[in-house]
């Protein structure tokens, strides 16, 4: 058992992080938030070129030929960067929908809660989005539609849920780092606020949630077991949503502003938590497993 990143996986993850650091900086994030240019098609194709969408496609089909664990690692980085767009849906469509693998085609999907992201921008929709009505999306970087009555009947597939959870872990890690960074530098009462236990302990719990969620997501990526995936999404949602809230608290008043990134993390985390399908259902699945074992 070698449950740690291999050298190749480490390189893949940090390489993708570097690509995003160059290509999707604060300006681009803010551009996406303003919604000025819609979905950045050029960026989408570049993501296609670096293999985000074709990662799991076999090499003889023009893909990179890697597995679910590798996909989870790059989606974690996408989540850390708050990269907008129906990334997971397009990734899952690679090899099925022409042009998805290369980033020529933008594919969106009907996710949990009947939500459809980027419907107007997408070229192809997976699932039945007939009658979808636009929402005034809480997340300024994610336009949303909703299929009326689609909420309860739609159960997203496991890989969709898992990659969404990986994005949540990335966002959770980002909020943790932001909180720690702020706590180290912001001074009150003549010292860094991170030296106050009430603040330090918030930061510590942020980290604990990230670490626990991350191993759960990685393990689910290895087993691709539905119960593992349900566990991973519960913990990842918690890490991202609670993490953003706690990070906001650590940031004080500045955390409540539009300029700070905290709200973007929180709102995206909310969208993804919904996209992952009913939380109750995941909990019930996990409970059911106990009964099976109880015999």
């Amino acid at each position: 058992m070698r449950f740690r990143l291999t050298e190749d996986q480490r390189v893949l993850k940090s390489g993708f992080r570097e690509v995003l650091a160059r290509r999707f900086r604060t300006e681009e994030l803010r551009g996406a938030v303003d919604g000025s240019g819609g979905l950045d098609r050029r960026l989408w194709r570049e993501l296609g070129e670096v293999g985000l969408f074709s990662l799991r496609l076999a090499e003889d089909e023009g893909g990179v030929g890697l597995g679910v664990p590798e996909a989870v690692l790059v989606f974690e980085e996408a989540g850390r960067a708050l990269l907008p767009g129906p990334l997971v849906a397009t990734h899952l469509a690679a090899g099925v929908v022409p042009g998805a693998a290369t980033g020529e085609t933008v594919v969106t999907a009907v996710g949990g809660g009947g939500l459809v992201e980027w419907l107007d921008e997408a070229d192809v929709v997976t699932g039945d989005a007939a009658g979808a009505v636009p929402l005034r999306s809480v997340d300024p970087a994610t336009p949303l539609h909703r299929v009326p009555g689609g909420g309860s009947s739609v159960r997203p597939d496991d890989l969709f849920v898992l990659l969404t959870a990986a994005e949540q872990v990335g966002t959770a890690a980002r909020t943790c780092e932001a909180a720690v960074q702020h706590a180290r530098t912001r001074e009150q009462f003549g010292r860094p606020i991170g030296s106050f236990q009430a603040v330090k302990h918030l930061c510590a719990e942020l980290l604990v949630r990230v670490e626990v969620a991350r191993v759960a997501v990685y393990a689910a990526a290895v087993t691709v077991d539905p119960v593992d995936i349900a566990a991973a999404r519960l913990l990842a949602d918690e890490a991202a949503v609670r993490g953003a809230r706690d990070s906001l608290q650590v940031h004080g008043g500045s955390g409540f502003t539009w300029e700070a990134d905290v709200h973007l993390c929180l709102k995206r985390a909310w969208v993804r938590a919904e996209r992952g399908g009913s939380i109750t259902e995941s909990e019930e699945l996990l409970a059911g497993e106990l009964l099976v074992e109880a015999g």
Binding site: M1, R4, V180, S195, E205, V222, V227, A230, A231, E283
Partner: protein, 376 residues
């Protein structure tokens, strides 16, 4: 990144499983919680059985992954837990192995492995709990011995221990972290008095220890004089890093029992109960994954576990308490009956956020040593 065990590891698992199936039925009956001599005999007997079968040193010499398999399989089979051997096997022993001299290792390690000697931990004092470095028990050098006076508190298993990993102040003038030494004190030395304390669970799990001019040979000091704080950090990293992992499997098993009970008494029909069962299942699954991750990382870096154990302990201690809270809710009035096994476990779970460093202290460690936040 994989979760598959190697063929050799699987062979180890299969052999262990087969051996457990044969060895467990011949175990003597479990002694009652307050029968300390009985508990000592039982726990040492199990250690001896492991020794004879070649499994005694699994906590020390085997690869971390093998140790993980050992903990998983013994727990799954319902084998006895380390019990009175906890300190010796899981942190005093490993500390001596890492920091002791060749003579010290030869003197103390084999009896621990053979199930002949029990250790206890004399760290905490009445005025030095979380602030461990402020301990006051003094050790004055007199020829080839230290003369130790002071008192210790909350010493688990003190009543049946042969040896104590003892922290003493060997330099009263130095800054508090610098004047400490780590000694192995024989519990039968003149001047050692043990007074059992009753826990809230009604048992005498730990004790108060009074030390009155106790002579401890200088040769029993592990690490350099006044370098005991560093050695202590090694001990604590073992205590927090690896000592609890077997219990995660045990908690998962209890969770299944709680689900079974819920089904039997109708609590299962409450979706709130089911959802909490589901959440806790996610929790213990993830804690097991965290264990596998830490073990894999440890195997790659080798040696003493890092402060990551604090992350594990924080989450585990809370999950364990939530497990028994839920169990109590499922039991209803039955949770007020001391005759029900879970009730004692519920009571004992209350200690997990305190013993081996409180949750507040763990959060300080995570904040300062992992996240690099400034000290208060």
């Amino acid at each position: 990144m994989d979760l598959a065990y190697s063929p050799e590891e699987e062979v180890f698992r299969a052999r262990l499983r087969e051996w457990l199936a044969k060895a467990l039925p011949s175990l003597p009956p479990k002694p009652s919680p307050d029968d300390w001599p009985g508990r000592r005999a039982y726990d040492l007997g199990w250690q001896r059985t492991l020794y004879d079968a070649g499994y005694a040193d699994v906590h020390w010499d085997a690869s971390p992954t093998t140790r993980l398999i050992f903990l998983e399989e013994t727990e799954r089979a319902g084998a006895p837990y380390v019990g009175a051997n906890f300190v010796g096997l899981l942190h005093a022993g490993p500390t001596i192995a890492a920091e002791g001299t060749a003579e010290q290792r030869a003197r103390w390690l084999p009896p621990i492995l053979r199930g002949e000697e029990v250790w206890c931990q004399g760290f905490s004092e009445p005025d030095a709990g979380s602030d461990l470095a402020s301990l006051r028990t003094r050790a004055r050098r007199d020829g080839d011995a230290y003369v130790v006076s002071g008192s210790k508190l909350w010493t688990s298993h003190a009543e049946v221990a042969d040896w104590c990993e003892l922290l003493v102040r060997t330099d009263g003038e130095a800054p508090k972290h610098r004047g400490i030494s780590w000694l192995a004190m024989p519990m039968d030395a003149p001047g050692v008095t043990v007074r059992p304390l009753r826990t809230l669970a009604g048992s005498t799990e730990f004790a108060e220890m009074f030390l009155d001019e106790v002579r401890v040979p200088v040769a029993n000091r592990v690490g350099a004089e006044n370098d005991g704080w560093r050695v202590t950090m090694v001990t604590l990293s073992f205590e927090r890093g690896t000592a609890f992992v077997g219990e995660v499997v045990a908690c998962r098993r209890v969770l299944v029992e709680v689900a079974r009970e819920a089904r039997a008494n109708g609590a299962w029909d409450d979706s709130g109960v089911r959802r909490r069962l589901g959440r806790l299942n996610a929790e213990f699954r993830a804690l097991w994954r965290l264990t596998q991750w830490n073990v894999s990382e440890g195997e790659a870096s080798g040696g003493v576990p890092g402060v990551g154990g604090s992350v594990f302990k924080l989450r585990y201690s809370r999950a364990r308490q939530e497990l028994y809270e839920l169990a109590a809710e499922v039991l209803g009035a039955g949770a007020l009956d001391l005759g029900c096994g879970w009730v004692l476990d519920r009571l004992s779970s209350l200690s997990y956020t305190i013993a081996a460093g409180t949750s507040e202290i763990q959060r300080n460690i995570v904040g300062e040593r992992i996240l690099g936040l400034p000290k208060g």
